[in-house]
């Protein structure tokens, strides 16, 4: 049995459910809206035992061989206890879980995650996190053009600054800001699914292609190839963070040097699938249907 936890109004979850239905795979879906109705009786040992029940259907935990977890933001306090229980189950289940709740938390602190990426042997752009306007201006003067982005996982629009806009850096004195050396080149998003990867080249006039339409810019995406060694390194990076599915943002500079910016633990893969026709959903479902259990728990992502 495959457990799916997420909202059908969220396209990636809808895609997974559609493919599971097409393939006639047995699955048990829990929508966030149904959480207040879920009952459970679970003993947390290693692994957890017991059951969860929804709409009269009971699911013993030892029948779960895999899980796809992508909950939305909880709007009702009534579902909180069930959500907490489901998260704890997903964290410790003896099954293949895409992804365990804690696995992607390094993304909550982008510079912390950048250090994990660097420790995994990938190039990262030189980065300064500061509340010191003088140091921010010196960083801009050294690199001529920098990217200005949030420190936390809170979604923000990435913007660039050049030396003519140095006065704006006075604002950093009111809270930490992350500045990165601008790297000119070609954006590539790589989705890692288990041991496979799907690379998408992105061409956009916008600083942040995710918001190209808002700024009146255009974006073009196409499936592309990346070097085998890079793909293998990205798989290793993803697994080192305990992630079986990830969306990794890269840029290749004009010398062919690859830089890694971020690992997204809950990627909106359906958008890239729509733009390129890459069979990402099918690959995720094949991973969920895999024969062997994936009992290995994510490692503790820390630097020392």
């Amino acid at each position: 049995m495959i457990l799916v936890w997420g909202n059908l109004s969220d396209t990636p979850v809808e895609r997974i459910v559609d493919v599971l239905l097409e393939r006639e795979s047995a699955f048990f879906h829990i929508d966030d809206a149904a959480l207040p109705l879920m009952t459970h009786d679970v003993v947390f040992t290693m692994p957890p035992t017991g059951w969860i029940e929804l709409h009269g259907q009971r699911l013993p935990l030892d029948e779960i061989r895999a899980a796809f977890i992508r909950p939305g933001e909880l709007r009702e306090a009534r579902g909180l206890a069930a959500a907490s229980t489901l998260s704890a189950i997903a964290a410790s289940l003896d099954a293949r879980v895409i992804n365990r709740p804690a696995a992607g938390r390094s993304n909550w602190s982008k510079p912390f995650q950048l250090r994990l990426i660097e420790a995994a042997g990938l190039n990262v752009p030189e980065t300064l996190v500061t509340t010191d306007p003088a140091k921010a201006r010196a960083f801009l003067a050294r690199h001529r053009r920098v990217v200005y982005k949030s420190v936390s996982g809170v979604r923000s629009i990435v913007t660039t600054l050049d030396t003519h806009q140095a006065a704006r850096l006075d604002d950093v004195s009111t809270g930490p800001v992350q500045l990165q050396r601008w790297i000119a080149g070609r954006d590539v998003r790589v989705h890692v699914v288990g041991d496979r990867w799907f690379a998408t080249a992105i061409e956009s006039d916008a600083d942040d292609y995710r918001y190209a339409a808002r700024s009146g810019d255009s974006t073009h995406m196409a499936a592309t190839d990346i070097p085998q060694a890079l793909g293998e390194r990205l798989v290793a990076l993803s697994h080192s963070m305990g992630l079986l599915l990830s969306g990794i943002d890269l840029r290749a500079d004009r010398h062919g040097e690859w830089y890694c910016f971020e690992v997204n633990p809950s990627p909106g893969f359906s958008y890239f699938e729509d733009m390129t026709g890459q069979p990402i959903t099918a690959a995720i479902v094949e991973l969920l249907e895999g024969k062997e259990r994936h009992a290995v728990l994510p490692r503790m992502g820390r630097l020392r």
């Binding site: 206890a81 410790s92 909550w108 602190s109 510079p111 912390f112 509340t131 140091k135 420190v151 996982g153």
Partner: protein, 223 residues
């Protein structure tokens, strides 16, 4: 210098600052004050802001954490509309600083979490079992929110030293468990049947543990 990361409204944090020679408090307001600079891939010397002053990371020997989050209500100097966002930013920044400092950090920092947020049961439960510590099963049933009162006992571990009277064999198991987790500071909660119920780093340290922590944090990171 020992930096206690916490709030001036936390009496435990303030007592530790008063007890440890040369210790100072790094508050939420400090986290959003001018003077911080930390790099990835750069060679600039990193700096903290502690009690409003800029401090070189090389002057900090140890860090003790008394918070697992930065709360919007703490950021009184920030416009109310921006406090929630800035609290997230300050929290994320603190994780990065604690994971990057050369100083010894007594509390765990991992997976984008601080303190107890970084001590996940699915990580420590198998290691406790492997070290020979029996685990108290946690039973959750919908509609049953009532908790039994625990006849509990807390055992503290500082820098590999298990504090409190107990049989050497049990002490060795606790030592093995905490070493496997690579924790410098931990408190283990046992029930009346000597089963491990919880692992934390956020309770107040006993005077004996506080003294050992002060010694460890003054000495700095092992070379």
């Amino acid at each position: 210098m020992i930096v206690v990361v916490g709030s001036r409204h936390d009496p435990v944090a303030m007592e530790l600052v008063a007890t440890w020679p040369g210790a100072a408090l790094c508050s939420a307001e400090d986290l959003v004050s001018p003077g911080w600079a930390w790099t990835v891939g750069g060679d600039e010397a990193p700096t903290w802001v502690v009690e409003g002053r800029t401090v070189a990371d090389s002057d900090v020997t140890g860090v003790f954490l008394r918070r697992s989050a930065v709360y919007p209500a703490e950021l009184l100097g920030i416009h109310p509309d921006d406090r929630t966002y800035m609290a997230s930013e300050a929290h994320a920044f603190l994780i990065f600083v604690l994971a990057s400092t050369r100083a010894r950090v007594a509390s765990p920092v991992a997976d984008g979490g601080l303190g107890d947020d970084a001590l996940r049961p699915e990580q420590w439960m198998p290691l406790a079992a492997a070290a020979g510590l029996p685990l108290a099963p946690l039973h959750l049933r919908s509609g049953h929110a009532k908790r039994r009162a625990l006849n509990s006992r807390i055992v503290e571990v500082v820098d590999g030293q298990v504090i409190g009277d107990m049989a050497p064999r049990r002490q060795a198991r606790i030592h093995r468990f905490v070493a496997a987790l690579r924790l410098d500071w931990a408190q283990l909660l046992f029930d009346g049947r000597q089963r491990l119920v919880a692992l934390t780093s956020m309770h107040s340290p006993t005077p004996e543990a506080a003294t050992a922590l002060g010694r460890m944090l003054m000495a700095g990171a092992p070379s």
